[in-house]
Symmetry: D2
């Protein structure tokens, strides 16, 4: 934040399972969902980002300590293979988020191990895949994540996600969606955990071409920019034993930055 000129290092993660199993998904997302998400970020943040992708089938799911240490913002898409993600990778990602790495969780990622671990709740919801029209309404028009998109964003066909969405109260509720079937959903939510920022954005599905929608791509790019950490290195909160008067020592009380 303090150094706005810094290039944002983004890692777009995708389980990449539907694309391999289902021809229709492959046709819809020829570069994979990760390819579409990455392209949307790049086109909206031209010259401000370096985007790489990582997928489930790679060693350590492509999320080694080195990759995460070199990542400012991780985006997460998963659906069919949440339980295939290794617990130690989940713990590693959690540690990086709490240490400052930004995290953007997309759609069915609500049920990923990493999101459930960070939320502490079931993250369950109502759903239906019946070509509902989704309208994404902005509740905070001047929030940076809502910049440049209409309210509502009109998504002609999409999976329905409905309340109750079992999450802790978000720190900010930026978007609420309605569906043609009548349901509502908190579709854009921010959370702070440790020194990291998290944004959950629900539009997007393997069965609909939502990640080609220019407004959806803009929101994801906005979210990436919004969760960028203040510092490029990790700062994990930790237990500290502090003798009486420790802060009266000038060296001990130096500013974080």
């Amino acid at each position: 934040m303090s150094d706005t000129a810094r290039t944002i290092r983004v890692t777009v993660w995708n389980e990449n399972v539907h694309e391999q199993r289902e021809e229709a998904v492959r046709a819809r997302y020829p570069e994979g969902i990760h390819g579409a998400v990455a392209a949307g970020i790049e086109e909206n943040l031209k010259g401000q980002v370096e985007v790489r992708t990582a997928t489930l089938e790679q060693p350590e799911h492509g999320l080694t300590e080195e990759v995460l240490a070199d990542t400012d913002v991780l985006t997460w898409w998963g659906h069919a293979a949440h339980d295939k993600v290794a617990d130690e990778v989940v713990e590693r990602v959690q540690r990086h988020v709490l240490g400052g790495m930004g995290l953007v969780v997309l759609h069915s990622g609500h049920f990923s191990k990493i999101f459930r671990t960070l939320m502490g709740t079931t993250c369950s919801l109502r759903w239906r895949s019946e070509h509902d029209r989704e309208l994404v309404w902005t509740l905070k028009p001047h929030h940076p994540v809502a910049e440049g998109v209409p309210s509502p964003i009109v998504i002609p066909e999409q999976e329905m996600y409905g309340e109750v969405f079992d999450i802790p109260d978000p720190d900010e509720l930026v978007f609420v969606s309605s569906f043609s079937g009548g349901e509502v959903f908190r579709s854009g939510c921010s959370f702070h955990r440790g020194n990291g920022r998290i944004f959950y954005f629900s539009p997007g599905d393997q069965a609909y071409p939502v990640y080609h929608h220019p407004d959806v791509r803009r929101v994801i790019a906005n979210a990436v920019r919004w969760v960028v950490p203040a510092e490029s290195t990790r700062d994990l909160p930790r237990l500290q034993n502090c003798p009486t008067g420790w802060f009266e020592n000038a060296d001990a009380s130096k500013a974080r930055a």
Copy 2:
């Protein structure tokens, strides 16, 4: 809440380790920390509660499915043996909390597996055990958890807990403490997770007689009453597939209660 006449079934959990290892702790808490906590709840909620205790060394730590199903409110104290608590018991407690069981987390319980699991963060803090005086200030004088206690509560000797306390923003910040060394701490915090309520209250330590302090006992009893679930049976949030128009069927839209 709806049935205020219902007896509150409380299970007071304690790792019960310091009491067995250290004579000074045994002298301070002859009935164990769990004994002191249970006595404080009983004296403040006479006729409204049934209190049992459970400890680490019991089979399944005394927290079987049957015990939890029969518990409205669980209180948690642990310190030296957090890592001895079995993961499956932690998952079971989490499931009961998300399903509605109230949870009161005490002092060093901030580092318990169950609290960290429900918060999703490190729950780390600053600390010092040097006989600081703690003053517990009420920020919400009409909150039920603050009923009947002075502001500040004066605790002559106590371990210092200081910020940064790495938790999600609490839903309500009821108490903030200062210490004679100058530090501050969010000492009384409420959280809603799933259908359950959680209250964290920091005063209380094995090395000081804080659980004999009448105001501390009153707050713990108030917290027990405040986290009581609306229903005596568990209601875990769950994924629901909902066909279009499901709610127009009268039977499908029946009220929760």
Copy 3:
């Protein structure tokens, strides 16, 4: 709260203008909107409440110091004559709310002087009176205000209220509505101000028979019960000059209750 057996003294306020001007409204609400609201509270809280009504045309709008001092919960409905409410009555009501009196603000009361004064914002919104169907979704199924009603509550015909609703973030977001036209609205919101609780609930309009809907009546009654103050007398927050060590004097540190 501490004394659940206490009778709740409710004052139902209504500007009572549409009922006098428009025959259709009089036919819909023969006892006035205040009559319908009062009846709904009485039928749901039988034996727990004493309900009186007050209207704009009465001296001091029926809200004298004596009436307010004798009121635990005030409900507010206004629409056509917000600017006819005297500023000194608004200030008096505000003082009572900050001192602990509960306030339930209904529908077009979003634009009342008292609600805008307590919120500090414009409280503006989108609207349309075109017989939309409203669906009121519960986000917090175990919240006392949602007790006993289905999710969604189906209101066959109602005025549309849509986001952006210009209010401070509510302390709790209990209900979100969708409308057949596609809009969404935060229709059930709680706020704490001073020592008082406020609940805003949007369903209900002079042009539709919404206050005869049993679920709407149930929610209003639940809200009345939820905003009841902890104490029957007012406790307005006030400036206090405190000499060093004031709280070490036992008398000075007596508990609130």
Copy 4:
């Protein structure tokens, strides 16, 4: 935010009464409190700001429609003459804040008409002017307003402000202070109202040289930067009548930006 290169136009407002009445204050703040606050902002945001000052005794208190329309961020200091501020100027400032202008409220400004109007509460607190040492603790180390300052900030002598501070729950609680007398205070709080951001920061007083403290000056400058609106023109939330399907018209659904 979107245009980080834009110069921030700051208006520093001060009632400027103590400085004229009391020689000691004049000696402490030879350029007035507004002069010290302005200098602190300029030294920390060199090249990023244009700072002007305005005071009570000027026509319309120096806060004409033209000045406010040309202001991105207004800072407010008042104490002895809150009731001398004209109601119409307060309403004008409120309108500009809700339309997007940032507001930084300092110390005794907690009791200003504008802050009370925006909060809706009494904004009362405990106080004592007896040379307490204040320690300002950061609760959110990566919040932009906490950038570059130690935790705690040590203020050798300061007026004591203590809880209960009667404000709505802040959107973010960035700083909590303790005082040598033992009290605690929420000394750094953010609020969103309408399309505007507000930051309240309590350190600073006419009777102590706190506005010469480099860390206090840094926080005020950080707060100024943090409340800068997304847009340079005002966007007051307003009532909108929306016919069914209005958003399906492409022109009607254009993005805010």
